[in-house]
Amino acid sequence: MTESAPIISIKGLTKTYDNEHQALKGIDLDIREGEILALLGPNGAGKTTLISAICGLVSPSSGTVTVAGYDIIKDFRKTREMIGLVPQELTLGAFERVGNTVAFSRGLFGKAPNAKFIDDLLDELTLGDKKDNMVQQLSGGMKRRVLIAKALSHEPQILFLDEPTAGVDVELRKDMWSIVERLRQSGVTIILTTHYIEEAEEIADRVGVIAGGELLELEDKKTLMEKLGKKQLVVELKNGINTIPSELGEYGLELANDGLKLTYTFDARQERTGMTTLLTSLSQAGLVVTDLNTRQSSLEDIFVDIVKADA
């Protein structure tokens, strides 16, 4: 990805709530135009506060945020026009029709009414036949779609998705990722928060790890995984063993599958992984190897490591 001026630039952002809970402890973050950034972190990490501060729902205690070069407080009209937000909670007025509430959002963000655009948007979210339904009659998944439609109603250049797939069925999840993909192709910058690691792994370009109000890591997804990823070498044995031979003690092997499988965990960042010596030692111990297999650890493992190291 080319290094251009960031679309969102966050500098020294802190937020301390009235109850003295410090939700953000000095976040510095540049978000690139057109990327999909996943903010990963456990509940209460500060993800929603961060998003809320950028969108104008929470007043920052200190620090600055600019969107496309505009300050979010001084030039709030310019910055907010560019942003669409899908909140975490299913917050919808009860006594409203789907079409009306989406058109309302468009107007609220300063755009002239455009019935065709709203109709197309509803169709894309498979809400076309629900246009005249009352919002409270919809299922949870459908309500989520309405919230997405509302967030996209004013054609934003930046989309925030706060825990988009919490309590969402497989179908909607798939639909959501295809919408995200289409938006990315049209140049929309997407920031999503999640505590589902697979989600970040699946669609993000970069992953930021947030815990305790601090941004602990921010890397390209691949780099992050390579940088911090542990690899495992799984060795299949011809003849099962009951115990790991003492000469192999130093490798910290795990025995599984009725003694037919040995797992060796190593750090991919090290220059010497120890694989070669392990194989030599295996043959010296008289074990016959039938298969070898290496695998990368998932973002989940990485995440747990980072948060643990920080704690």
Binding site: L57, V58, R77, L85, P87, A103, F104, L108
Partner: protein
């Protein structure tokens, strides 16, 4: 100025009224008609005229004020309280819209509803009593000022209230007594001297008095004082709303 946003809020609020037509418009009109039947026709026929005005006609301005005040407050307070309660306020707060524009949208819609209601009550009244309006412009002025300032007041209550109980508290415990004791159904002259003095502390008295003057040219206090009182009330409400918005009161942590 984000006129699209103001329009969007105003339209959505007016749509809410249409959806709840029975509750928003029919109910107040019916209850006012009942007042006319009971106080105007049944009891009123046994009461002499007050200050030279037939009792049935005399209570019209007071009854209109009763409805305008309670309905302005309830419309505006509910209009802003409900999105707060359901959480949909996030959208308004994240929109490229100033607090002033939010205010025009919500308060404008609430005031419009009250005006429609006031006109309906006036029309209803003509079925029961002979009515004349001595000073139509003054009447319209008091009418508009009351709708706007009490919608503003309702908006403040809606922002302040964090549960349904608080939402009902001020309208039922403060406004309704003030209206009833403010001379809706009687002239302050009819009270003992001590209570006349106490009544002068009631701001609603000035409203009703001024409004009644614009109909019948009879009043408890000077019309100039009445007008000043409502303007002061309007300015106080604007000041409170302004401070609330500046500090993000209960809207923005």
């Amino acid at each position: 100025m984000n006129t699209q946003a103001v329009r969007a809020i105003y339209t959505a609020e007016m749509r809410r009224t249409r959806n709840t037509l029975l509750q928003s418009v029919a109910a107040p009109v019916i209850s006012t008609a009942l007042y006319f039947v009971v106080f105007g026709s049944a009891i009123g026929s046994r009461i002499e005229s007050v200050d030279g005005v037939a009792y049935g006609a005399f209570i019209v301005p007071g009854l209109m004020m009763l409805s305008l005040l309670t309905q302005s407050i309830s419309n505006a307070s509910f209009g802003i309280f409900f999105p707060k309660f359901t959480g949909t306020i996030y959208e308004v707060m994240s929109a490229p819209i100033s607090f002033f524009e939010i205010l025009i949208g919500y308060v404008g819609a609430a005031a419009t509803k009250s005006m429609i209601l006031g006109v309906l009550i006036l029309i209803t009244a003509t079925f029961f009593v002979d009515l004349r309006i001595a000073h139509p412009f003054w009447m319209l002025g008091f009418f508009l000022l009351t709708c706007v300032s009490f919608s503003l007041f309702g908006f403040i209550i809606g922002l302040w209230a964090d549960n349904f109980e608080k939402l009902q508290l001020i309208p039922s415990l403060v406004i309704t007594p003030l209206v009833f004791l403010g001379g809706s159904f009687y002239s302050v002259d009819m009270l003992p001297a001590f209570w006349q003095k106490i009544s002068l502390l009631n701001p609603v008295l000035y409203l009703i008095s001024g409004f009644r003057w614009s109909f019948f040219e009879v009043s408890d206090v000077g019309v100039g004082i009445s007008l000043s009182m409502i303007l002061v009330f309007l300015l106080v409400c604007i000041a409170i709303v302004w401070i609330m918005f500046k500090t993000g009161y209960k809207l923005k942590p």
